[in-house]
Amino acid sequence: MKLQGTATLHADRERVFAALTDPGALSRCIPGCESLDLIGEDSYKMTVSAGVGAIRGRYDGQVTLTELVRPDGYVMNARGAGAAGTVDATCRIDLTDDGEQTQLAYSADATVGGPVAGVGQRMISAVAKRMAGQFFAAVDDELTGAQAPLDSVGSASAESAAAPGDGGIQRGYASYLPARRRGELVPADARPLLLAGAGGALIALLGAAVGGWLARRGRE
C-alpha cells in the first residue's frame, strides 16, 4: 500500500534534516520509543512500547537510512514483525525550503502482512496518516519549543512522560492517546504487539498505531 503526505516544519532544512536523522530526537518524538540504538552505518535497532488502554507491549524493529543527501532528504527502509503481522516499508522523505520554514513530503510504499493486513487498507492508511501528522507535530515542537538542543545517539525513556498540556516536548505514548486513556495501568504481561520495526518516523507510527488498534480488539 502507498501512503503519502506533507507537513510544514518551522525551521530551516538543515535543522529539520538533523532532527529527523538524529536518534535522540526520534526517540523522543516516536510514541513509546524506549530505545533507538545504532547497530551499523545508518542502521538502527529500535524498541517501542505501545498500546492502547490496558494492553501494551514491546516490539522491535530495524531501520536503515540510505541515499542521505543533506539537507534534501533521504530514504528509509524499515522492517518489523510480530504476532499481529509484518511490515516492510520504504519511505522517501524530501525537504524543500519555504522561506524560514521547511516543506516536508513523504512517500511510502509498505507491504503489510498477516493479521494486521486484515483490517482493511483504508483503515491502515488512515491510522498511519493520523499518527504521521501527530509525529510531525511533535518534531515541529521539538524544533520550535524551549527544550534542550538535539542529543547525539542515545536512549530515551518512554516512561518519563511529560505532564499533559505543559506545552513542552510530548514524550511517551500517553500524549498521543485521547485524553481518556491517559494514566491507565500497564500490565506487565501484556501481549506482544506488532513490531514497530519501521523505525523511521511514519512507519514506526504505522506499526504502533495499527498494533495498538489490534491490541485493543484482540482479547482472545
Binding site: 483490517v119 482493511g120 487498507q121
Partner: protein, 810 residues
C-alpha cells in the same frame, strides 16, 4: 389401524416454541460476535471519487474498515448471474462492495466491523465518500426513452428482450371481428418479511472450516456460492438457515453481498462476525418486484372468444439482474391462465433503472400476467355487453382436455404443459361462493341508495413444484425417534408439521416421535431451495419415498426376527406387528437397534444387537451384500416438469363516495392445489397470500422520485395492510384435481393467494365506479382523482357505465 394424518388439519407443531420466545432467529445467534454496519450509497447513480475513513478510525472499538480495494480473487469479481438465459443479452450484477460506481440508493460501499452494531454505525456515519453525481434513470418509460443510461455500456437500458409466441398473432388480429388495445401499469411492491436479512459467520481455525448462519431460502446454494467466492473447498463450509421470520421470495436471492462479506471478514479477523439489517436497509438494499407497464392488444369474436393476444411489457428490473429474467419468463408464460388461445405473442423488455434490484416476490410475475389476461377479459366483456364470468367461461380449457400443451418453455426450462385441473368447475364454485348471479340486483339497489358496490373476479393457473429435485432422509434411531431431514428451507410454511404428517402416515409412527430438520447443509447437502410453491411437492414426495424405503427395510428385519412373512406385517403407532395377531410384535425402536449389528453394547437396548445376544446364520455376514447398517432411507423426487395448480378469486368492494375509502365486503377464493397434506396450513397460506394481494392492490407502492430516492423507505409511509384492512372473512372453496406427476398427487399452494388480487380488486372497483381502471394500486387519492376526472369528462368510462345510465334513465 394406522392413524390417518395426510389430509388432516392438525395444529402446527412448530408454533408452540415460536410464540413463547424459543425461536432461534439469526439475531438470537452470536451475542459475542463483532457487529457490522455499511456505508450505503445515498445516490442513485454516481461515480465514487474518494473514500475518507480518517474520522471513522477514531471511534473506539472499530476493528476493520473495508472497501472494494480490499477484496481479492473471486471476491473482487461481480456477483453471479444465477439464472442465465439466451435472451438475457446484457446481464449486469454488482460487486460485494461498490467498485468505483453505484447504481442505486442503498448499494453497499464500505463495510465497518466493530465491537457492536452501534459502534459500527457511529464509525460508518463518519466516513466521507466523495461522489461524482450522474443523472439517474427512474421508471420504465424513462428507461425506454434512454436519454441516459443506468450502465454506460448498455445505452438502451435493455437487459433482455424475451419473446414468447405461438400461432400467428398479427394475422389473427387482422382477421378478428373485434380488437381492443389498452395500456395498464402495476407499481412496485416488495416481499417485506417481518425479519430482515442477517448473516453470522464463524471461522474455526483448528478445523479450518467455516460455519455460516444466514436468513435464507436456500442454504445449499449459499454454501456453494461462499465456497466459490472465498476459495474454500465445499466440504469446509457449512450453511444453516435458522428459524426464519418470513422470506416471500426476497431471501431466495443469493449470495447477497453481506452473505459473502461477513464470512470473508470473519476469516480475516479470526472472530465471529454478525450482521442483521434494519428496516431501512431492507427497503433500499434488498429487492422489489411487480413494476410493469403493459401494452395489450387482443382480438376476439362476437361471443367473446379470444382469438389472439399480443402483449408488449416493459419490466422494471432495477439496477442489476442477479436473478436473470425469471420474473419476465413467468409473466409471459403464466399470462395465458386457464384459457385456450391459438395465437399469442408476449414480448417482455426487461429494462434497467437506477433503483433497487427486482427479483421474485410471492407470485414472481404471475400477478402481473394475471392482471394482463384478466383485465383483457373484463374489457372484452365490457365491449360486448356480456357477463364477465360468461366471457371467461367460453374461453376455459375443458376438464377433458388435459394434458394441455401451451407450446412454450416455462421457467424451469421445461414445456408449459398443464397436467390436470377443472377450470369450469372452479368458475362455477366461485360464482356460487361469492353470489355472482344475484349481485347486479344488489349493486343497483345500493347505487339507488347512494352506495357504490362493485364485484370482480380473476382466475389464474400457477406452475408449481419446479425441479430439478429435492431429497429426503428418514432415519429411525434406536431410541425410537424418527429424524426427517430435507435440504430446502422453512420460513413459516409449517414444514415441521406437513413433512411429519407425511412420514407419520407412510411409516406408521406417532407424529410426536418425529423431528423434522430443514435448511442445514450438515444434515442434508443436496437441495435447491424453497421458492415457486415447491416445497410440499418436492420435499413432501422425497420424504415420502424415503419413509417408504425405511418401512420396507423395517418390515424385512422384523420379518426375520418374528419369523413371519413381511407381507403380513404392519407398523401401527411405532409397533411392528402381524396383522390380526396381537401377540407377535416388535417395537420399531428395537428394529432400529437390530439393524445395526454391534460388537459393543453401551446400554440395555443395544445389548440385543451384540454378537452373542442373538442367533445369526454362520453362512451370512452380519451386514449382507447390498445392505447397510441402520434403519434409514434416502430418496429424491425429480419432476419431469412443473405441476399446475389453479384458482379463482372474486371480491365485492364498496367505495365510499365521500372519502373514497375502499372496503372489502366479501372475498371468495376457490383453490385447487391437488391433494392437501394439511388443509389448515393451506388455508393459512391462502389467508397470507390474500393479505398480500390486498396490500398490493390498495396500498403498497415504492415511491421513487425522479432522482431515484425512495421516499417511503419505512413502514410509516410504505403502507402494509393491518388486520383492519384485510377482509375479516375469506370464504374458501376447495377443489382437488390431483397431480399425475408425483406419487402424492400434490401441487404447490404457497403463492396462490396473492396472484389474482390486483386483477380482481381492479375489476371490482371498475364495476363500482364505472370508470376504467388501468393502474394499480388504487388508494383513496387516486380514486378521488378518477371521480373528479369522470365529472370533468376526461376519464375513460366503461361502456357498462353508459349502459347503466341508459337503463336508469329509461
Amino acid at each position: 389401524m394406522t392413524t390417518k394424518l395426510f389430509g388432516e388439519p392438525i395444529a402446527r407443531r412448530e408454533d408452540a416454541r415460536l410464540i413463547v420466545g424459543k425461536g432461534r432467529y439469526l439475531d438470537d445467534i452470536g451475542h459475542g460476535a463483532l457487529g457490522v454496519a455499511f456505508v450505503r450509497s445515498p445516490h442513485a447513480n454516481a461515480r465514487i471519487l474518494d473514500i475518507d475513513v480518517s474520522a471513522a478510525v477514531e471511534v473506539a472499538g472499530v476493528h476493520a474498515i473495508y472497501s472494494y480495494e480490499d477484496l481479492d480473487g473471486p471476491m473482487a469479481q461481480p456477483l453471479p448471474v444465477l439464472i442465465p438465459h439466451p435472451s438475457l443479452t446484457a446481464p449486469r450484477t454488482g460487486y460485494p462492495l461498490a467498485n468505483g460506481s453505484v447504481s442505486h440508493v442503498g448499494e453497499p460501499i464500505v463495510m465497518v466491523v466493530a465491537d457492536d452494531r452501534y459502534l459500527a454505525e457511529d464509525a460508518a456515519e463518519r466516513i466521507v465518500v466523495d461522489y461524482e453525481f450522474r443523472t439517474p434513470v427512474v421508471g420504465v418509460e424513462a428507461a425506454e426513452r434512454a436519454d441516459s443510461a443506468v450502465h454506460e455500456d448498455i445505452p438502451d437500458n435493455v437487459a433482455a428482450r424475451l419473446v414468447q409466441e405461438f400461432g400467428d398473432v398479427d394475422a389473427a388480429l387482422l382477421q378478428a371481428p373485434h380488437t381492443v388495445s389498452f395500456t395498464q401499469t402495476i407499481e412496485r411492491s416488495a416481499s417485506m418479511p417481518l425479519e430482515g436479512k442477517g448473516v453470522h459467520a464463524r471461522w474455526d481455525a483448528v478445523d479450518e472450516s467455516l460455519r455460516v448462519y444466514t436468513s435464507t431460502q436456500t442454504s445449499t446454494s449459499v454454501r456453494a456460492a461462499i465456497a466459490t467466492k472465498l476459495d474454500l473447498s465445499l466440504d469446509r463450509v457449512e450453511v444453516i438457515a435458522p428459524d426464519v421470520g418470513g422470506g416471500f421470495g426476497v431471501k431466495i436471492v443469493h449470495p447477497w453481498p453481506e452473505e459473502l462479506l461477513i464470512p470473508w471478514a470473519a476469516i480475516r479477523l479470526g472472530r465471529e462476525v454478525k450482521w442483521a439489517e434494519d428496516r431501512r436497509e431492507h427497503f433500499v438494499s434488498s429487492a422489489h418486484e411487480r413494476g410493469q407497464l403493459q401494452r395489450i392488444t387482443a382480438g376476439y369474436d362476437d361471443e367473446g372468444r379470444l382469438l389472439a393476444l399480443d402483449a408488449h411489457i416493459l419490466h422494471d428490473h432495477g439496477a442489476y439482474t442477479p436473478y436473470g429474467i425469471v420474473v419476465p419468463i413467468i409473466t409471459s408464460t403464466q399470462l395465458l391462465g386457464p384459457y385456450r388461445l391459438a395465437n399469442y405473442r408476449c414480448q417482455v423488455d426487461s429494462v434497467y433503472t437506477n433503483t433497487v434490484i427486482v427479483t421474485p416476490y410471492r407470485g414472481a410475475g404471475r400477478p402481473q400476467g394475471c392482471f394482463a389476461m384478466e383485465r383483457t377479459m373484463d374489457r372484452v366483456a365490457d365491449d360486448l355487453g356480456l357477463d364477465r364470468a360468461a366471457v371467461r367461461e367460453i374461453n376455459l380449457i375443458r376438464a377433458d382436455e388435459f394434458p394441455w400443451d401451451n407450446h412454450l418453455i416455462f421457467q424451469d426450462g421445461r414445456p408449459l404443459i398443464y397436467d390436470s385441473g377443472d377450470y369450469p368447475s372452479m368458475l362455477d364454485k366461485l360464482r356460487d361462493l361469492v353470489g355472482w348471479e344475484g349481485f347486479e340486483a344488489r349493486r343497483s339497489a345500493a347505487a339507488a341508495d347512494g352506495r357504490w358496490l362493485g364485484i370482480g373476479m380473476a382466475l389464474y393457473v400457477e406452475g408449481t413444484g419446479v425441479g430439478p429435485y429435492e431429497g429426503g432422509h428418514v432415519q429411525v434411531l434406536p431410541s425410537g425417534k424418527v429424524l426427517v431431514s430435507t435440504g430446502l428451507t422453512s420460513q413459516g410454511q409449517g414444514h415441521e408439521t406437513a413433512f411429519a404428517q407425511i412420514v407419520a402416515e407412510e411409516l406408521g409412527v406417532p407424529i410426536e416421535d418425529i423431528e423434522v430438520h430443514t435448511g442445514d447443509t450438515r444434515r442434508f447437502a443436496y437441495a435447491i431451495g424453497t421458492f415457486a410453491s415447491r416445497a410440499a411437492v418436492m420435499s413432501g414426495n422425497a420424504v415420502a419415498l424415503a419413509a417408504r424405503a425405511v418401512r420396507e427395510k423395517a418390515l424385512r428385519i422384523a420379518a426375520e426376527v418374528l419369523e413371519v412373512d413381511a407381507a403380513d406385517l404392519d407398523i401401527v403407532d411405532g409397533v411392528v406387528g402381524v396383522r390380526g395377531d396381537p401377540g407377535a410384535v416388535l417395537q420399531l425402536s428395537s428394529v432400529a437397534v437390530l439393524s445395526n449389528p454391534l460388537r459393543y453394547a453401551f446400554d440395555e437396548a443395544s445389548r440385543a444387537a451384540t454378537q452373542f445376544a442373538r442367533f445369526a446364520s454362520y453362512d451370512q455376514p452380519p451386514v449382507p451384500d447390498d445392505d447397510e447398517p441402520g434403519l434409514e432411507g434416502r430418496d429424491y423426487y425429480s419432476p419431469v416438469r412443473s405441476t399446475f395448480a389453479s384458482g379463482a378469486h372474486a371480491v365485492i368492494v364498496e367505495v365510499d363516495p365521500g372519502t373514497c375509502a375502499v372496503t372489502i365486503e366479501k372475498y371468495a377464493v376457490v383453490h385447487d392445489c391437488g391433494r392437501l397434506i394439511n388443509p389448515r396450513i393451506v388455508e393459512g397460506q391462502i389467508h397470507g397470500g390474500v393479505a398480500q394481494g390486498v396490500g398490493g392492490a390498495l396500498y403498497e407502492v415504492m415511491a421513487y422520485d425522479e432522482m431515484g430516492q425512495l421516499q417511503n423507505a419505512s413502514f410509516m409511509d410504505f403502507l402494509m395492510p393491518y388486520v383492519s384492512e384485510v377482509p375479516q372473512r375469506i370464504d374458501i372453496g376447495h377443489q382437488e384435481t390431483p397431480s399425475p406427476l408425483n406419487p402424492l398427487g400434490i401441487k404447490g399452494a404457497g403463492e396462490a393467494g396473492v396472484i389474482p388480487g390486483s386483477a380482481a380488486i381492479a375489476a371490482a372497483l371498475e364495476d363500482a365506479l364505472g370508470i376504467r381502471i388501468a393502474s394499480m394500486p388504487l388508494g383513496p387519492s387516486q380514486i378521488y382523482d378518477l371521480i373528479r376526472a369522470a365529472q370533468d369528462g376526461t376519464a375513460e368510462m366503461t361502456l357498462n357505465s353508459a349502459r347503466r345510465s341508459q337503463e336508469e334513465s329509461t
